[in-house]
């Protein structure tokens, strides 16, 4: 115990020694607790961390949050909901953070949002995609940054419905995200195109696709088009088997998330061409907001940003904006400040919807192509998140009353 006090004192002294004096005078610091699956999913969380670190630097360089220095305390959850809860507890009880941000996997996002509701803590979920977090299991303490599963599906359906294809097959990982992505896509697609048929559905386990038999099974059904929800290592295996076995030849493919550099870059010269995908073509976005972000990011890290970098960056920018507007760390005041708050992002202005606490951050929809042995997105168009939402009445019906 004594050792710990001594250690704490030393740390505190060291921190005080290093803290810029500007903040020391104007009243201390404001703490944000951040949780993510750093050890389980380093490929996605590394760029994400770089993104939020850049944002923290920028916020503090501009004078902090209402004169207070912004400090982010980051914890790993090892990819387990129970460990995320422990981390959330530590951040709230021991570190006295003003709000929680982060999480990647849907079930961890839900676990932390439930914790936030129980302990009355403000939570900004950055990456989890599940619709449940803002709708069926939404609560007033939880906000979400990234475009939801529904929004990404709606963006893809826009493009997919224009295809002549009538016979569709689906391949998706057998867990909640895969299941709901397919369900929403099918529902929206069938509304727009009552003439299409769903001829085959394959559900390989997450992370353990046996790609050969799956590709054969889909090819056997002879679909005109394929919806793919696989990503990461599973996507690589699927693409490799599919290329070799000619599954994608003469077939349209619509694919969730595949245009994100995290998933597209590993495919290198095996990138399949002409897939309709959502993603982040950082090399072809010419807006001034994005150019400024890109320049700052490349200057700091000497590396190009992934989608995770955008999410991490914007998470902290949003958190700082909410804290600044609320001018308080009282959760109710932060909720009031966040509802309807608009702020700039590298993708243009975004707003946190009052009705379901979803941000209107959008995504790019485009086609995959090969260039110099690398996969890229071409013909990309930015789809605003606000344009791909169900009606307010539907949202209200799904979301529990607080």
């Amino acid at each position: 115990m004594q050792g710990r006090v001594l250690l704490g004192a030393t740390l505190a002294l060291t921190l005080m020694g290093f803290a810029p004096s500007a903040f020391a005078q104007s009243g201390g610091e404001i703490k944000i607790g951040e949780i993510n699956s750093y050890s389980l999913l380093p490929a996605f969380t590394e760029p994400y961390r770089k993104g939020w670190q850049l944002a923290v630097e920028e916020v503090n360089a501009a004078g902090g949050v209402n004169g207070k220095k912004l400090v982010v305390i980051s914890k790993d959850d090892g990819g387990k909901p129970a460990e995320a809860q422990t981390a959330a507890n530590e951040l709230v009880s021991s570190e006295n953070v003003s709000m929680l941000v982060g999480t990647f996997l849907s079930n961890i996002g839900l676990a932390v949002s439930d914790f936030a509701k129980q302990k009355k803590v403000f939570f900004l979920a950055s990456e989890p995609l599940t619709d449940a977090i803002t709708w069926q299991k939404g609560n007033r303490y939880t906000f979400r940054l990234r475009p939801s599963n529904y929004m990404q599906a709606a963006m893809l359906v826009d493009a997919a419905a224009k295809l002549p294809a009538k016979r569709w097959a689906t391949i998706a990982p057998n867990y909640e995200y895969g299941q709901s992505a397919v369900a929403v896509f099918k529902k929206l697609m069938s509304e727009k195109r009552p003439d299409i048929q769903w001829v085959e559905a394959q559900w390989p386990p997450l992370g353990k696709i046996d790609a050969g038999p799956v590709v054969q099974a889909v090819a056997q059904a002879n679909p005109d088009a394929i919806l793919n929800v696989e990503f990461g290592g599973d996507l690589v295996k699927l693409v490799r088997e599919g290329n070799t076995r000619g599954l994608f030849k003469g077939r349209e493919v619509v694919s969730f998330l595949t245009g994100e550099p995290e998933y597209l870059d590993p495919l290198k010269d095996e990138t399949p061409e002409g897939w309709i995908v959502t993603g982040y073509p950082w090399y072809s976005i010419k807006t001034p907001e994005h150019a400024a972000f890109l320049k700052a990011y490349q200057a700091k890290y000497n590396d190009y940003p992934r989608l995770g970098s955008i999410v991490g960056y914007e998470t902290i920018k949003a958190a700082a904006a909410i804290l600044a507007k609320a001018n308080s760390t009282d959760p109710d005041k932060m909720i009031a400040a966040a509802e309807g708050l608009s702020l700039p992002s590298p993708f243009g202005e975004i707003t946190f919807r009052k009705i379901d606490h979803q941000s209107t951050l959008g995504a790019f929809v485009g086609k995959t192509a090969l260039k110099d042995g690398k996969g890229i997105m071409v013909d990309s168009v930015y789809r605003k998140g606000s344009d791909y939402q169900p009606s307010d009445a539907e949202v209200e019906k799904m979301r529990p009353k607080d």
Partner: protein
Amino acid sequence: MAFYVVQFLTGLASAASLFLVASGLSIIFGVTRIVNFAHGAFYMLGAYVAFTLTARFSGALGFWGAILAASLIVAAVGVIVEMLLLRRIYHVPELFQLLATFGLTLMVEDLVVLMWGPNDLVGPRAPGLKGAIDFFGQRIPSYDLFLIVLGPVVLGLLWLVFQRTRWGVLVRAATQDRDMVAALGVNQKWLFTSVFALGVFLAALAGALQIPRDAVNHDMDLRVIVDVFVVVVIGGLGSITGAFIAAVLVSELNAFGILIFPKISIILVFLVMASVLIVRPWGLLGKAEAPARRTPGLTVNPWRPLTSNERIAAAIVFLFAASLPFFAGNYALNVGAEIAIFVIFAASLHFLMSAGGLASFGHAAYFGLGAYGVAFAVKLAGLPMAIALLAGPLFGLLGAVVFGFFAVQLSGVYFAMLTLAFAQIVWSIVFQWVELTGGDNGILGVWPEHWAASASHFYWLSLAIAVLVVSGLRMATFSPFGFALRATRDSPLRTEAIGVNGKRIQWSAFVIAGTVAGIGGALFAYLKGSVFPDVLGIPLSVDALVMVLLGGVETVSGAIVGAIVYKALSIWLVSQTEWSKLVLGAFIVLIVVAFPKGIVGTVESIWHRRPSSLRDALLGSKIETAE
């Protein structure tokens, strides 16, 4: 028709990849009896090293040379591991090597990220085998055909080595009777090292051969390790031909199964294993294990109940733990409650392993059933907390009654693997039954009622239940039932001869352990406020095993210390460093070397080595021996 032929060939290609990894594991287990958890890690290292080498050397010679060189390099790493680490622990209780290899696996997972970075790596395709061959309008990748040929070729080569060389004869002899081979003057050390090297070589080769079709990343090991164990067990431990047949069986069932049930892959191997083991308790081609020959006097110290002085010491520790809320903050109490819950969980498994001699690899099933029992009681039935808490042990009990009945018919690793299969079946039901369980998204909002909601109250509740449970299990161990159970463990034949129904005793012990685990799960649901399928998952079962082994399996209550050390350390490390797996793995490896009987086991044996007069004076009473 052509489609079914191609689907069959595709299945064979998957089988060949699976068999390559499985053959190495089967050889290692057959001879050294090491449950080599690190086999997946060597497979992954093979892929990473091959990726690096193939990137450097191009051309056909470069590619195949790189695959071979990668396998040899990893095999050399395997030799170092065997000589530095495993050699030290061959003599210690069975399964302790599992702990060492588990620690290694944790380290390797972090090391590959440190060395190769976090991104998925995609290696080159095999020169000359990039395309596909047309078969009546269906395309078969030529690399698949290569694998289909390679599998039986490797099987044949291994058969030749084992049947036609002196080394092979020695290995087979060691598989059948290690002690006899040693008695005949064969240097076991080098035999074991060479066997381990061959096994690791095969694992690395299998990994390296995946790079033309897979992505290389840091969770390759976990993706493969469980399936490989399952294949080895279905085939029969130590039988390479059995492993081959099992790999073909599993892969073909998967290839055709997904045509009818597209969601079957997630659970298929476990269904096959459970069915095979229920019908053939030693796998397809395995033979009944010879009863283990225990050297008399090796079982260290006869167990005894606590002496009065020790009881006082335990009471003091308890009082200290109970006074924690007066000086610790909410977070510490929260962690304290979690540790108490894991003490309950580990103690339940420890009872089964130490007193019952039955190592379960699927103990999380009963913990998870307890947690889901509570979640259902609260969410579906709307029961108050005091009653809902009882649903946990009830669910654990029901699960243990059903699965225990089948499991106790088997013994040793087959028992362990059948419990694993049952746990995975429960897990997949919970995972798939989205309407009832919420699937992967779990059940939210299972928070304690007001009287238990504060951190200190919940901590006291967990602590009190943990103390009751641990005392209860100790009493059971020293009751007539406990003696019958231990007798069955030590000598099944003699116990049966004096009229004890061994299977029924073991079944009862299984049910007790399952029920107690359910208590832990029930508290865990309330602690976290939500329940997700990973409370039933393999990682949690492994955690429980690690806690028991860390504490010392030959002790009465070592699991308590194991649970406290492991849980506290892992929570602290995850909070403090991102490389928690590396540090935790290194710590486990160190413990294995420094405390070869587990922490409590080693402390006890040091204690007992002291002059007995001093010891008796300190204890204040004579030791009641079991004899």
